[in-house]
Symmetry: C2
Subunit: 523 residues, 2 copies
């Protein structure tokens, strides 16, 4: 039980800016990160007030005139109905819900604009919302990839490896959730091993299970063992990531999971996964309007269950290949959509999960990193607060890549420096440095250069900045194979953060009991 520590743990980020970074350089590589980023640059607001209002009005019109279909959750139906939704029965357990314009916005007023998700290491607790940005590894891939073994189904060993690699990076802030599907563990028991792996091999915050209400409940219960039941009731220590069934459907498994998290005062993310032309209009404005409508409807359920429970608005936009009809990721139109989603979330005063290191590439190559950077930039410039899929995403989310994970975490490091923005003061303006030697003289040896040398620039662990000749002599290794060497080194050097032995035993005991209580299910 870590309550004593946690009671003291209102999350405090290390100060941003160069001064803070200089201090951190004195520590080990692991210490160079921050529990989360507090952005030092403004958001990139690309759409006019008038256009934003039109999108919001369209979202309200979708909710009022087309409505949301709710399936197989009578309790959710009761909550929505009591809140004022207009219900039409479609069948015995399928209903259409219509919401008067403004109704969901009113319900969402009780949701916090910003909240803390506590980590078992209080220094790693994260603030979600406002100017805060939290990076978490990718989520949900059935396959894993590395350059040695190629593509294969993920296992619990892969899962643990990804948790360890994420924990090893100073540039991630959160351990994520289903970092890959551990397909060698029965479907109805995997969540226990996944939650345990996050607790055991990371000391950061994480996501729990959402694939069934009882698995959501197990996730919360394991957190009660870890943090103490009272603490959990009063604080967010776990979140669930819930997908709507687009277009415009909430299924009962999802809503039951949402209710479970909200009732326990835990966080939930409400994600329409929108593939334009398939489950949303092909045009990006329409996709954003629909995404806003769906995410608002899903978020609102949390406030009907327990006003004040943390809820995160979310969006995931994907485009389509004109040649094959396949979904495409990391393309320009979704990036624009993500920027706009940031504007809409701020107008709603809710935290936002958006974008990530998306790519359709099947290898950790130039396509992968070019698409990833465009997509990631939209997240950080658009003001996303929680960026799931920050590391490892390849193959249109079907594969989690070992190499891409370390490439992406390195990029996340660069984005820390980017989000610090530019410090403008007498020292950084450097007039004296320039005046010291005057025109035509190099500044290598000025006091200003020496003073700032270790802190002026972000230092990549993976890029090769050497002259071509040196690089060539060292074997001319490309980025993907350097990443391959790096993840192996990180795994070899990984050390698990300490975990109280009694807590560990209690968790393992709980898992044993739950596993024994049910037969294996494989679908």
């Amino acid at each position: 039980m870590l309550e004593a520590d946690l009671a003291l743990s209102e999350a405090k980020p290390q100060r941003g800016g160069r001064g803070a970074r200089r201090e951190r350089r004195a520590h080990s590589a692991q210490d160079q990160g921050r529990p989360y980023i507090v952005r030092g640059i403004p958001t990139y607001d690309i759409l006019s007030e008038e256009s934003l209002v039109r999108i919001e009005q369209t979202a309200e019109r979708i909710l009022a005139e087309i409505g949301i279909e709710l399936r197989e959750d009578a309790e959710a139906l009761r909550l929505y109905r009591e809140a004022g939704a207009k219900v039409t029965d479609i069948s015995a357990d399928v209903w259409n819900l219509k919401f008067e314009p403004g109704m969901l916005r009113e319900i969402l007023r009780t949701a916090p604009a910003e909240f803390t998700q506590h980590a078992r290491n209080p220094a790693n607790s994260v603030r979600i919302g406002g100017k805060n940005v939290v990076f978490a590894p990718s989520y949900g891939s059935p396959f894993v990839m590395d350059l040695d073994r190629g593509r294969r189904y993920g296992t619990i060993e892969d899962f643990r490896n990804f948790v360890k690699l994420s924990q090893s990076s100073p540039w991630l802030h959160h351990s994520g959730g289903t970092v890959c599907e551990p397909t060698d563990v029965p479907v109805n028991k995997r969540h226990l091993d996944m939650v345990y792996s996050h607790i055991r091999y990371s000391d950061r915050a994480f996501l729990g299970s959402i694939t069934a209400a009882e698995r959501a409940a197990d996730s919360v219960e394991m957190c009660r063992i870890l943090f103490g039941a009272d603490f959990v009731d009063q604080n967010c220590v776990v979140m669930g990531n819930f997908n709507t069934t687009s277009p415009l459907v909430l299924d009962g498994v999802t809503t039951a999971g949402i209710r479970t998290y909200a009732a326990a005062n835990q966080g939930s993310i409400h994600l329409p996964f929108l593939l334009g032309g398939a489950v949303a209009p092909l045009t990006i404005a329409g996709m954003v309007a629909q995404g806003l409508a769906e995410s608002m409807a899903s978020c609102a359920l949390t406030q009907l269950v327990r006003p004040g429970a943390p809820a995160v608005l979310a969006s995931f936009f994907s485009s389509m290949s004109l040649r094959t009809g396949s979904p495409t990721f990391g393309t320009p139109e979704p990036a624009i959509g993500s920027l706009v989603m940031g504007q809409l979330a701020r107008r709603l005063n809710l935290p936002l999960r958006c974008a990530g290191n998306f790519s359709t590439s099947k290898l950790p190559d130039g396509q992968a990193m070019q698409q990833s950077m465009m997509s990631m930039m939209s997240a950080i410039q658009g003001g996303a607060n929680y960026v799931l899929h920050s590391a490892g995403f390849l193959d249109g989310l079907l594969s989690m890549s070992y190499e891409k994970l370390v490439m992406d975490t390195d990029m996340c490091g660069a984005l820390h420096a980017y989000m610090d923005g530019m410090e403008v003061n007498d020292d950084t303006l450097g007039f004296d440095a320039l005046a010291e030697l005057g025109p035509g003289q190099h500044l290598f040896s000025t006091a200003h250069t020496l003073r700032h040398y270790e802190t002026a620039y972000w230092d990549s662990a993976l890029n090769d900045d050497q002259p071509w000749e040196t690089w060539d002599e060292q074997g001319g290794i490309d980025y993907a194979w350097r990443a391959n060497a790096r993840w192996k080194k990180l795994l070899a050097e990984y050390q698990a953060p300490a975990l109280d032995q009694a807590t560990d035993e209690a968790l393992l005991d709980f898992i044993d009991r739950r596993k024994s209580s049910m037969p294996d299910m494989w679908y």
Copy 2:
């Protein structure tokens, strides 16, 4: 002579937005581009008014108190002195010039905020300044690279190949200048072959020589043969890209070249190439202040020679590896600097050249494309008007890469779609499409999807969007090798744009005469 055509050729971009793109889809791949981009999204302004003013004040203070050193150009000295510069003799042909605060800004008022650079094909003339964005290939690498032959010194054949490949891309707008150094041609004659290659193998606008005043004059003279002397005197048909000698030096070869272009009413770009800690303060705010000071001082010379001559403010920021002291490209701090430079250029009401597809990688790999995208995003979001180095840049600018060229041009295509932004109207909001089938129904077959199918998303020629299985069956080719196949295909299919035979003969005759008039020089 193409005057008749040119007289009619006030450049008109094709309309931006999806509607315009739909029209263009009906044409061949070559026709999908635009002569230049008119941005549909606002710039990303990250710095406050107060901080911008501090940077400007520091630039003015550098100019007033430290001054600029001018070397070996008595005519430039005369012009600066007559305009009011305070001159201190350092030696017989080296002078320090100090400028009272505000003086250079006043001189720069006659420089156009926006101008047209005419191409020999009037449809390809570009507008530089304002909301316009022009992409040109990379500039100045002594080496070239491809996956088959590795790194080697560039030749005139490579030069021609890069001009042809650039011309083949619908996503570049300008043929650039020294796309690689043709090291097999004598130093004092290369410019003739380079300018001829741009004229012969491209029908877009291009940059002339700047390495000596007489080579600048030859460049302008060749343009007079192509466009007619009167037309050239009244219109910008060529530009020179001039580097200051940082910190704070203008050498006489450069200023003589600048005077040559300005006297002929041709454009010039005024670029401090700033490596923090070497030729500028290590801190980015100081680097930007110095860059602004140097570029303003260099730009101002054009207006002293011929008020109204086109001049382009410019910046190139590079960081430094903390481990090796090597320059690094495509890193976060310079990207932030480029965004700020955009704000400063708009306050000065001058067109801006800034950033590009920078990388320190030695291969067209993930590092290359990740760094390139971050750097390119800073150019297009910061409001750069002329983006040299838009394609081919590798190895810290030491190498021009065949594969990276086609990767980058493909990325430039994505950036066209990005800069179109989001169109918000009843059609794109797609309410009817969503209402047509209602919740839970896919939109594949709606009229809205079919109507927008060919135009909603940018279509990459190089990314692989296929399912993993299909990609694997086709050999599992990575991005770099797809690019390798693509540049070979483009070169094989390349067709030179028509050039009037008499003009061609006149150009070749001029080149013959110039070459015969001087012995070969190899340094």
